[in-house]
């Protein structure tokens, strides 16, 4: 894949905090008065270079959290710092959105132009970059999502997976250090999901921080770290193996382990020798005695 070259002004340091969510509370107004609390005193640090998955039921606060990460939503209480910049400062939003880019569930919601290359160029053009620099970024971003051949196509002619990859390219053209995917594979068919996951895997290997909100436990199993939200609070936070190993807590949260781990669990209950806690097909094959 093409090297994306993160914006070096902030300097990408693997392992350092990139986004800090500090005791954040968000409440949405409800007709008839009162407020519906979406997040309650949530603190979370996203580390540079990690692949973090956020899981939880609808209404647990996942999408609210995603929107906080680049200032699309400003917390009622608490602060969100992106590379040290507080999202409360409207004047910093431009800088913040160059650090963290968000991709939503429905690619139709975020494609603005009539040609793929124009759509991907929209962000960098708005930064006022020189034409050559815009073209370089567009090419780099499309190559990164394996969509170079789609450059002159109209977005409405693309498949769901292709559209979502173009939407990701639009975010990558801003050269963010962190990309947030808010259920970006939910509407896609199996091939589209695989395409997007392949892109995410490559980006993360290239040093981009990934925050992925998902309902698919099999996707969460691939991440470095999982945060489980429940009723606006962080219920669990750890490596996939720790999270999926805590069966009781998961059951209490009405969540399940990935299908592969379910097979392992049931096979073991029948007395079949399966070592450890396999989370992927490959791990299961290796774990079967």
């Amino acid at each position: 894949m093409a090297t994306l070259g993160h914006d070096q002004s902030g300097g990408a340091r693997l392992g350092a905090p990139l986004v800090e969510v500090r005791k954040v509370t968000v409440a949405y107004p409800v007709p008839g008065g009162g407020g519906n609390v979406a997040l309650s005193e949530v603190s979370l640090t996203v580390t540079e270079g990690e692949w973090l998955c956020v899981i939880g039921h609808n209404g647990s606060g996942k999408s609210t959290l995603a929107k906080l990460l680049n200032g699309l939503l400003i917390p009622g209480r608490g602060d969100v710092l992106v590379a040290g910049l507080n999202t409360r400062e409207t004047a910093l939003h431009r800088a913040i959105r160059q650090v963290v880019g968000v991709v939503f569930q429905d690619p139709e919601d975020q494609i603005v132009a009539t040609l793929v290359e124009e759509d991907v160029a929209f962000g960098p053009e708005n930064l006022g970059l020189a034409r050559d620099e815009v073209l370089t970024r567009v090419q780099g971003a499309l190559d990164a999502v394996d969509a170079g051949a789609l450059r002159l196509r109209a977005p409405h002619q693309l498949s769901g997976g292709q559209k979502q990859r173009v939407a990701i390219a639009g975010v990558l053209a801003m050269r963010p250090r962190c990309i947030v995917l808010d259920e970006s594979t939910a509407m896609l068919d199996p091939e589209g999901r695989r395409e997007v996951l392949d892109v995410v895997t490559r980006l993360q290997a290239g040093g981009t921080t990934v925050v992925q909100v998902t309902h698919f436990m099999s996707e969460a199993a691939l991440a470095d770290r999982i945060v489980v939200l429940s009723e606006g609070r962080i219920a669990l936070d750890g490596a996939p193996r720790e999270i999926f190993g805590d069966r009781e807590r998961l059951r209490a949260l009405d969540l399940d382990v990935p299908p592969v781990a379910q097979v392992a669990e049931r096979a073991r209950a029948l007395g079949v020798g399966v070592r450890g806690l396999p989370l992927t097909v490959g791990e299961f094959v290796a774990a079967l005695r």
Binding site: G59, P190, R194, A267
Partner: protein
């Protein structure tokens, strides 16, 4: 054998027919549904499945070939599609986006009121429909529609279709975007509609796990044609063909196939984690013996 209620023969349909942008969406699809079926139509994005489904209640008319639903010929211009729509309930993708009434009960009552049912009949239909989808009438009828969770809103939308008391229910991507709990509840409702209310149900999906969990018979479309048809177990055992059609297979089937490839003599026509665990147990005991 139960009576045939849907018979599609050599169906062809073009979009933008007669213009330079004419594209063929469906070219020779055949399928048959019998009363009491719990069937799935699956296919990759662009396979023609949504186009076929829109013929089932006369939203589209065949350009070539024939579509007969409950004995009515959709190719005949004199066929009253509106009457057919009362017998065939079509639940679109993301149907919660079509909810419009602030009160749950009134939203569901919209259809029966349009049919000029008397008030007590409207009430009976709304109550029955809500109970069928697991939304208690008294608990939910006066709730604010747009304050519900995503899974609840989807069940309200389904209840709105059920209140028309259709004989055939067609659901396009019924679980897309739902969280694990919402998904399990909706699948439970669909299963109960089939088993207890005797509804004939067709789901259209590219989520192989949903198809494996729910359907008994499967029709696979590709490139606007019917390419596979059979029992769900038989279809998912044909893994190479499905991969070639870029459809993928349920995770549990994939695991069974990989185990077999690694030399384990397990059945590959399994659909659930329990079945695969049992197959592994059978294999381990036969080796031991």
């Amino acid at each position: 054998m139960n009576e045939i209620i849907v018979e599609v023969k050599d169906l062809w349909h073009w979009y933008l027919r007669g213009t330079p942008l004419e594209t063929v969406a469906v070219q020779g699809v055949g399928l048959e549904l019998r009363s009491g079926d719990l069937a799935a139509i699956m296919g990759h994005t662009g396979s023609g499945k949504s186009t076929v489904v829109q013929h089932l209640n006369g939203l589209l008319r065949p350009h070539r070939g024939s579509v007969r639903v409950f004995g009515q010929d959709l190719g005949d211009r004199r066929t009253d599609a509106r009457a057919l729509r009362r017998m065939v309930g079509l639940v679109f993708q993301l149907p919660e986006q079509q909810l419009f009434d602030p009160t749950v009960g009134d939203d569901i009552a919209f259809g029966p009121r349009q049919l000029r049912c008397p008030p007590e009949e409207v009430r009976r239909r709304v109550r029955t429909a809500m109970e069928r989808v697991g939304l208690g009438f008294d608990a939910y009828k006066d709730r604010y529609t747009f304050g519900l969770s995503g899974g609840e809103m989807r069940r309200v939308a389904l209840a709105g279709v059920l209140a028309l008391e259709p004989r055939l229910l067609v659901l396009d991507e019924p679980t897309a975007g739902l969280d694990p709990r919402g998904r399990a509840q909706l699948l439970g409702s669909i299963r109960a509609l089939h088993a207890e209310a005797g509804m004939t149900v067709v789901i259209v999906s590219h989520d192989m796990d949903v198809v494996a969990e729910l359907a008994r018979t499967v029709w696979v479309l590709a490139g606007g044609r019917t390419v596979m048809h059979g029992g769900v177990r038989e279809i998912f055992a044909r893994v190479d063909e499905l991969r070639e059609l870029r459809l993928g297979i349920p995770q549990v089937s994939e695991l069974a196939h990989e185990l077999r490839r690694a030399g384990h003599q397990v059945r590959t026509d399994v659909l659930t984690a329990n079945e695969l665990a049992e197959a592994l147990w059978t294999n381990s005991t036969s080796r031991a013996g």
